[in-house]
Structures are given as structure tokens and as C-alpha cells.
């Protein structure tokens, strides 16, 4: 494997995807811990019912986050920020 191949391999890796994949991994780990506690240690049916509501909400929110992530164009993000010129309306009487 040449140096160019390695360079090409690394350039094809989407850093933002890895970053958000890491965030979502933490998220699902946390979701599991909450559901585990509610189902394992909860007394009566109420905690189990809340665990189901929580899971449903977590799935819906995760799907929404995934959908919004797919819509973001990260390559143009820095370009958009660079082209931003704030409009300063400073009254001339201040000078």
C-alpha cells in the first residue's frame, strides 16, 4: 500500500459521520441504562410503562436527528460562515 493509497483512504473518511456516530453511541448506551433501571428495579407496572414511553420517544427523536443530519451539507458549512458579513447599523452620531 503506497502513501497515496493511505492518504486517499483517510480523505474518504467522513469525520463528521464518525463524530456523530460516537455521540449516538453514547446516546443509545444512556438509553439502555435508563430502561434497564426502570425495568429491573421499578416496583409495579408504572416504571415499565414509562420505560416504553421513553424508548418510543428516544426512537422518534433519534430518527429525527438522523434525518436532519442527512440534510446538512457539511462541505458548504464553512463556506457559508465565511461569506457571512454582519450588517452593522451604527448611528453616525456616535462618531
Amino acid at each position: 500500500m503506497s502513501l497515496n493509497d493511505i492518504e486517499a483512504m483517510f480523505s474518504s473518511i467522513n469525520i463528521t459521520a464518525i463524530l456523530f456516530g460516537f455521540v449516538f453511541l453514547i446516546y443509545w448506551g444512556y438509553v439502555f441504562v435508563i430502561i434497564y433501571h426502570l425495568v429491573r428495579f421499578g416496583v409495579g407496572p408504572k416504571p415499565k410503562l414509562f420505560a416504553m414511553i421513553f424508548l418510543a420517544g428516544a426512537v422518534i427523536l433519534f430518527t429525527t436527528a438522523l434525518y436532519t443530519y442527512a440534510r446538512v451539507d457539511f462541505t458548504n458549512l464553512l463556506g457559508n460562515l465565511g461569506s457571512f458579513k454582519p450588517e452593522l447599523n451604527i448611528p453616525s452620531s456616535n462618531y
Partner: protein
Amino acid sequence: MFSFLTKSKYSFEGIKPYEKVVILLYRHWFIIFIGILGYIFLALIPPLVYIFFSVQIGNIGLTQIFDFLTAIYYLFWWLGLFYTITMYLLDTWVVTDHRVLDNEQHGFFNRTLSEMHLSRIQDMSVGVRGVIPTFLNYGNLEIQTAGTEPKFIFKQIPDPASVKNLINETFNRYVEAHKDNVEVHELGRQP
């Protein structure tokens, strides 16, 4: 599949076959209400940011990234909300016709479970302190055990005086049914 929702109204780990739950207590609803109210305010932040800065966000072309960051914000908002609800639901006090159980959750993987036999109850006292607890009728119920063991405290429970009376009645019934403090339900099981 969903039988665990209806199988037993007050089922919990370690319940004995002959044991009946008299009452299951959570902290007063006002305690969780305060926590949820905080999360409701936090949920209003992204819409407010959008209302006040929608023109600027649109001008820079960051609408999509704003939507994405809002979705991420709500992901973690949901976790925080249910962390609070989980801690509330796992702080329970159970009075059965044989014993009193205190389950306290101090965070994830940090749990205290103590139990006390009804026969060990020596004295009970109710403490309602503060303006809101007095209006809403919630407070602490302290149970003094025999010996030098620490007190059993039911924290911020609704109507602690009624719970005290209920435990008294349960205690009296237990004493009547268990002469000389002998567990009649386990006599046949012993060798």
C-alpha cells in the same frame, strides 16, 4: 409480551409468596413536578432562539444545521427528563403485611435497599416542615427501630399522617397473626 404490565400490581424483586403489599409510596407529585417544570423551560429554548434569530439563521444559510443542532439538543433533553423521572420512580417505600422496604436510588448504579420487619417498629413520627409541604400535605415519616439501628425515613411522602396510621394498623394485624413473633407462613418449610 406485555404481561409484565398486568401480572402484578406491586410486584418487586424479593417479594415473598405469602406477602401482600399494603401500600407503595413515591415522593409527593410536587417534587417531580418541579423537576419536569425545569425541563419544560429548557424545551422552550430552541423555539425561542429560532423566533428571535430566524432572519440571521436564514441569511447565513444555517437553517439545516440549526435543525440538526435542535434535534441533538432534544435528544439529550429527553435523556435528562427521563433521568429525573427514573430517579423519582425508583425512590420508593413499600409497606407489606410483613415488612417495610426502603429503595433509594442515588444515581445510576448507586442504589440503597433496606428493609425492616414490622415487629421491629418501636416508634413513628411525622414531620411536615415548610409552607409548600404544609399546603400540599407532604413530609417525612420517621420510623424508629429497636436497638441502635438508624431510623427508617420515608422522605417527602404524600399524607404522612395517614401512612403512619396505616402502618400502625398493619403492625397490629401482624402482631395478632404472629404470636410470639413466629413466622407462621414459613413453619412448614423448616426441617
